[in-house]
């Protein structure tokens, strides 16, 4: 059953009704009740001088960034298909893109969250200001939990000045040890790139470093990077979004792990964040097991926060 909600109160009423009827509910196709939040697209506040914005969870990333662009600002959520990905979906999936090298993931710049819990109550965490340690930060629990504990209806972000003077340097035709040398070289350099992206497919490997600044700053990047190889420079190119990460590693272990996986899968395709060790890999390597003690803690949290099993934790099309 599909139900549309245009306000948090409507969404809360729907969750309560589902709870009373004993049927599951999700902001995706996986609940018996599919709560469609796309009508919820209000911008709740935008304070350019404070670099803060709050919006309904049904707003798309593209719509939010179109608003912020008017003040030269943005949320660095360079996820795939931003025009159809809602803010709620980004949070539920812990979505991120190449720019997380510089800005971190959504975990690092969400200031506040509004959610419908299992009792149909509208609950809030955090606030609207950029620094805040009042109460438990259960926003972290919801980011990446794929809707397993509640329906996200609103979010407040810290926003950033959009970098000016973008340039990228692409190193092509790399062997794996060269890929690792570039990663390590950048780590030990004074450079702070916006993105460090690896693309590998069928034995061809390239690393693209994106940075921004004045002519003098970009010149410095070029000169530092000439020590790591002979990259091809492109002005004005933002890094391309990639599919969501399905393989994460400690950064210095990533190249060895990917190389070993390639030896088993010659047609391996990899895109992702070389600097932080998060990639989309085809075919996907088996996910690392969740440690038993952490898994037990997750079950206890689920039991406490959704004892009736109202919310599904499966990802089946959250952007819809």
């Amino acid at each position: 059953m599909n139900v549309s909600a245009a306000t948090p109160a409507e969404a809360a009423a729907c969750v309560r009704a589902a709870g009373e009827a004993g049927i599951s509910c999700a902001a995706s196709q996986c609940g018996h009740v599919h709560l469609d939040l796309r009508p919820m697209q209000a911008v709740r506040f935008y304070q350019p001088g404070d670099l803060t914005v709050g919006a309904d969870a049904g707003l798309t990333v593209t719509a939010l960034n179109a608003l912020l662009a008017g003040h030269g600002q943005f949320v660095p959520l360079d996820v795939a298909e931003p025009e159809r990905t809602t803010l709620g979906a980004v949070l539920a999936r812990h979505g991120s893109g190449p720019l997380r090298q510089r800005f971190g993931t959504v975990r690092d710049f969400v200031l506040g969250l509004e959610m419908i819990n299992d009792r149909g109550d509208i609950v809030h965490c955090g606030g609207t200001v950029v620094k805040n340690v009042a109460g438990y930060d259960w926003m972290k629990l919801m980011i990446g939990a794929r809707g397993a504990l509640g329906i996200l209806t609103g979010v407040n972000f810290k926003v950033f000045p959009r970098p000016q003077g973008i340039e990228s340097a692409c190193f092509r035709g790399l062997a794996w040890p060269q890929v690792e040398a570039i990663r390590s070289g950048l780590l030990h350099s004074p450079l702070r790139p916006l993105a460090i992206e690896l693309q590998a497919r069928g034995g061809e490997r390239a690393v693209t470093v994106t940075y921004a600044g004045s002519a003098a700053v970009c010149g410095r990047y070029r000169s530092e990077m000439s020590r790591l190889g002979a990259p091809e420079i492109t002005e004005g190119a933002w890094p391309a979004a990639t599919p969501p990460a399905n393989a994460v590693y400690p950064p210095a272990q990533a190249v060895a792990a990917l190389q070993a996986w390639e030896e088993r899968h010659r047609q391996l395709s990899v895109t992702g964040r070389l600097g932080v060790g998060a990639f989309h890999v085809e075919p996907a390597p088996p996910p690392p097991p969740v440690a038993p003690a952490a898994a037990a803690l997750m079950r206890r949290l689920k039991q406490e926060l959704d004892p009736g099993g109202l919310f599904h934790g499966e990802d089946c099309g959250l952007s819809a």
Binding site: H94, V133, N246, P250
Partner: protein, 478 residues
Amino acid sequence: MPPLARLAADLTAKLGAENVLTDPLARTLYEYDGGVDRAQPDLVVFPRSRDQVAAIVRAAAAAGVPIVARGAGTGLSGGAVAREGGVVVAFNRMRRILEVDVENARAVVEPGVVNLELSQSLAHAGFYFAPDPSSQRACTLGGNVAENSGGPHTLLHGVTVNHVTGLEIVLADGSVAQLGGKAGEALPGAWDLTGVVVGSEGTLALVTAVTVKLTRLPEAVGTLLAIYDQVGQAAETVTALTAAGITPSACEMMDGFCLRAIEAATGAGYPIDSAAVLLMDVEGLREEVEEDAGRVEAICRAAGARSVRRAADAPERELLWKGRKNAFGAMGRISPNNYVMDGVIPRTRIAPVLEEIEAVGRRHGFRIGNMFHAGDGNLHPLVFFDERAGELPRALACSHDIIQVCVAAGGSITGEHGVGIEKQDLMPLIFSDADLAYMERIRRAFNPDGLLNPNKMIPQSRLCGEIRGNAALYREGL
């Protein structure tokens, strides 16, 4: 044997007599932190390993005794004060840096490691730990994790939670869990439990090891001191910097009242005839610092700065920061006692809010000083009072009204000091009953018997009978 004496004997057998304090006089040293609340613990223990922490928690839980973690005791909200008595677990003897993994930009440390010592030990490799609370010479990583500590340079780099990728914790039943690790994130489906435990003020688990991100030391840092004849001009500068898209790595404001005391104490070279100064760092590549310092200076002058000084070299930079870092010690020159508040407001509201705070002080008969993290709107109003003259209750009432001013401006009751005891009853100013009830359920999932740091953060009147009951029963059973 009464239960507490049995627990003391049990822990003495497990840890050795040198790691257990039972003497009442010795225990008085552990009855306070940097704030105003006090309570004497019944026992103080000094574990040396994770397994000892687990054994302490198992024994205390079996005896129904509260368990309160403590680092250096520099916290300002009563987080490490054993409000309901019980066992204080002091982590001072778990202070090993277990691993420095430069290639992954990670370190694994025990909770008793001192914040600044960690950064100093990384300097040779060109890295440091970014969060820099004012107490960083003494405060511990475990305390930083518990309180999600900030500091001046978190404006650019983020607070503790942005620099922690993994935790080893001991749960309320004495079991051990590893959350996260060296990878930058968990895959979707594995929840970010690390992020929930950071900032939970010792109420969800005891932390026995922390995996932190290391940050590359910048190639260049520019330090600027902008001097103003009006506080409003300094506040205007903060807004103008934001509008220009400049993020200094730190942007601290000090008012003239505090400046004069700091200058007398430290000789940092602050102008004693000004109304306010901004102390700012810009960092990055040499080229970036040159450009940003020039832009910052121009913006300061346009906002009305009387003059803008730029530190010529590292010693001059350190001198300018020495004043700020030692500022709280200098406040003793103004009055016998001071109460440091911690509130957050939208940074565009600094000028009007400071005026309102001054008016609140006048109403209560106190002088208010201000030195704070202006760049992120994190205010630290100082209420100057004299405890011997019986002024503490009035100072607390004044502070309460100051926090209400911050909340009315759209802010928060705490930006980096935590809730603890101090702000417990202020939580309803920013959270609804439903919000607080949800926090209670999170606490119950981790800490079902309520023995981990009881009667903190969530207002007591809200706590369900079960959780309130155990701590109360413990006291009655003594």
